[in-house]
Symmetry: C2
Subunit: 320 residues, 2 copies
DNA sequence: CTGAAAGCGCTTACAG
DNA sequence: CTGAAAGCGCTTACAG
């Protein structure tokens, strides 16, 4: 039995007749032989790994999305896909990772989470025939799973408006930030537009921008609350930032929701624990869907730049 | 300029004279040539990826550890290491992942988090000369970074005792569970021993065991609190379980810490947010250290089965 | 249906 | 110091 035959057996080739197949299989089992994945990849010209590019992967929302990805990937294909994780914790890492991953044959496909991608990068990917799908970012040329952040902002405004608030603040990421994140800004746009429609203007004095983390959220909320005429409601562009707001309120003796209502965005597990009212987006599911799209692109060459828009819902809890 | 020369230049071989080096480099830059990592791995016989085996990787503590690993790995070596993530969400996946990862050349080394490893598996690893280090698990034959869970249990008991409690409950994982986790049981042992020393017996009626998640923690806490003579303090073997306890208290109208004190273990970010008193273990740092040990093993052949024991501290907050 | 042979893109001992 | 050649462990067209 030659290497070729063994290879055929291991790849379920119909060219092998049963008796030989059994003989080979027996030997394989007997010797505990395992195929060298690297050689296979080199020979085939395609990898069995999928690269996932994710910023701040320890962030609750990133982790939740990844969980969906991992669960789905493990189940696909006879052997499943390996998951090569690339964490982006600094702006310059984005391009590095993109370049590294696009290396020929390194991965069978790319899943890009929350990070913007540029045209020349897409050109490079398509030149190498490397499938890519986006999660929580959008680009007309690539399949993607997203939510309508503008609409999410509207939902938040409507909820706060319905609660009778009129002096409403927004707290989010810097409109232009070094990572190129735009979710926060989109949410702010929808939020502002909905307020506008209700005859309320989102005053610059009631907007605060900073890094998307808890401490910054707390700092910004303090400055919002320290004003002569503080807001009666604060919408934070993410749950982590909202948790920071809650912390500031607690430190300042400001009661929630009596003195100020607060809302977040995402519905990470933390939100439920602290009773935060928020806009829920299906994080886990979106990861699974994105993984499906990527596998479809890899295995069946499905590259249509479909856009899967996931539903957003208001989850009312104790902070409004 | 032959392939050999290009290879030498790209690998910083001292065998290349400057003028040629420059010429090659220029061509490389010009063409945007990138070396095929797969071929390199095959030729060299060693991968540039590290495999990380982790159960429930979306768990707060697992993520925190991973963060340390990722940060450190990215920085090591000229090219850094790729991170192959293997999530274990069901008992049988453990062995599968172990076998998959141990495939020749797949990875340069293995980092095993929280999962027990068996002697025959270690034999296999050593036969293949594949370095491995353990994180949050122990085995005398492998380098590892751990905490002294028994001592952690003692610390918890001492803290509760100092607060004047004598009717103290324990809530943790099943002593024997399908994943082979032993941390909870170790903590219980130290906890029980310290109580014993203070003349207090950890009554079976005050012990509860279940899956290490929040909902189960809540369920178990309810049954603990529903007893005719409920405990005045509950020590949960992890913060997630403790959060479940807090939720049960809230639902039952039991005041914390007035009616019942609660303590957790780990000090994940959640603990700070909800004001949970807990035993802190340096999760992130332990990940970094484990990564260092692994890289040392891979690059310098350092295989001594050292045991790095990380310090544990009581972090007192609002729940005791 | 099976095997010998070439090829995937590197690395490195061996000549020169 | 540089290049031709063999080899890493697979896959697959090509003969038979």
């Amino acid at each position: 039995m030659s290497a070729a035959t063994v290879s055929r057996v291991l790849n379920d080739s119909p060219l092998v007749v049963e008796p030989t197949r059994a003989r080979v299989q027996a030997a394989v089992d007997e010797l505990g032989y395992r195929m060298n994945a690297t050689a296979r990849t080199l020979s085939l010209g395609r990898s069995t790994a999928v690269g996932v590019l994710v910023p701040f992967f320890t962030t609750h929302s990133a982790v939740e999305r990844l969980r969906g990805v991992v669960a789905r990937l493990a189940r696909h294909g006879q052997r499943g896909y390996d998951l090569l994780l690339f964490d982006v914790e600094a702006p310059e890492q984005r391009a590095d990772a993109m370049r590294d991953l696009a290396d020929r044959n390194r991965v069978a496909g790319l899943l890009i989470v929350s990070l913007p991608i540029y045209d020349h990068e897409i050109d490079a990917l398509q030149r190498d025939d490397l499938p890519a799908v986006l999660l929580d970012v959008t680009h007309p040329r690539l399949p993607r799973v997203v939510v309508d952040n503008v609409h999410g902002g509207e939902l938040a405004a409507e909820h706060l408006l319905a609660k009778g608030h009129s002096r409403i603040a927004f707290l989010g990421d810097h409109p232009t930030n070094e990572y190129g994140f735009t979710s926060s800004e989109d949410r702010r746009r929808g939020f502002g537009a909905a307020l506008e429609r209700a005859g309320i203007r989102l005053e610059p004095a009631l907007e605060r921008f900073g890094h998307p983390d808890r401490d910054e959220g707390e700092t910004l909320a303090r400055s919002l609350l320290a004003q002569p005429s503080p807001p009666t409601a604060i919408f934070a562009a993410s749950d982590v930032q909202a948790i920071g707001v809650l912390k500031a309120c607690e430190a300042l003796g400001v009661r929630v929701p009596e003195d100020v209502a607060v809302m977040g965005f995402d519905d990470v597990d933390l939100a439920e624990i602290v009773g935060l009212t928020t806009i829920r987006q299906p994080l886990r599911e979106s990861g699974g869907l994105a993984a499906d799209l990527l596998v479809a692109a890899i295995e069946h060459g499905v590259h249509d730049p479909v856009e899967e828009v996931q539903a957003l819902t208001v989850v009312e809890r104790r902070t409004t």
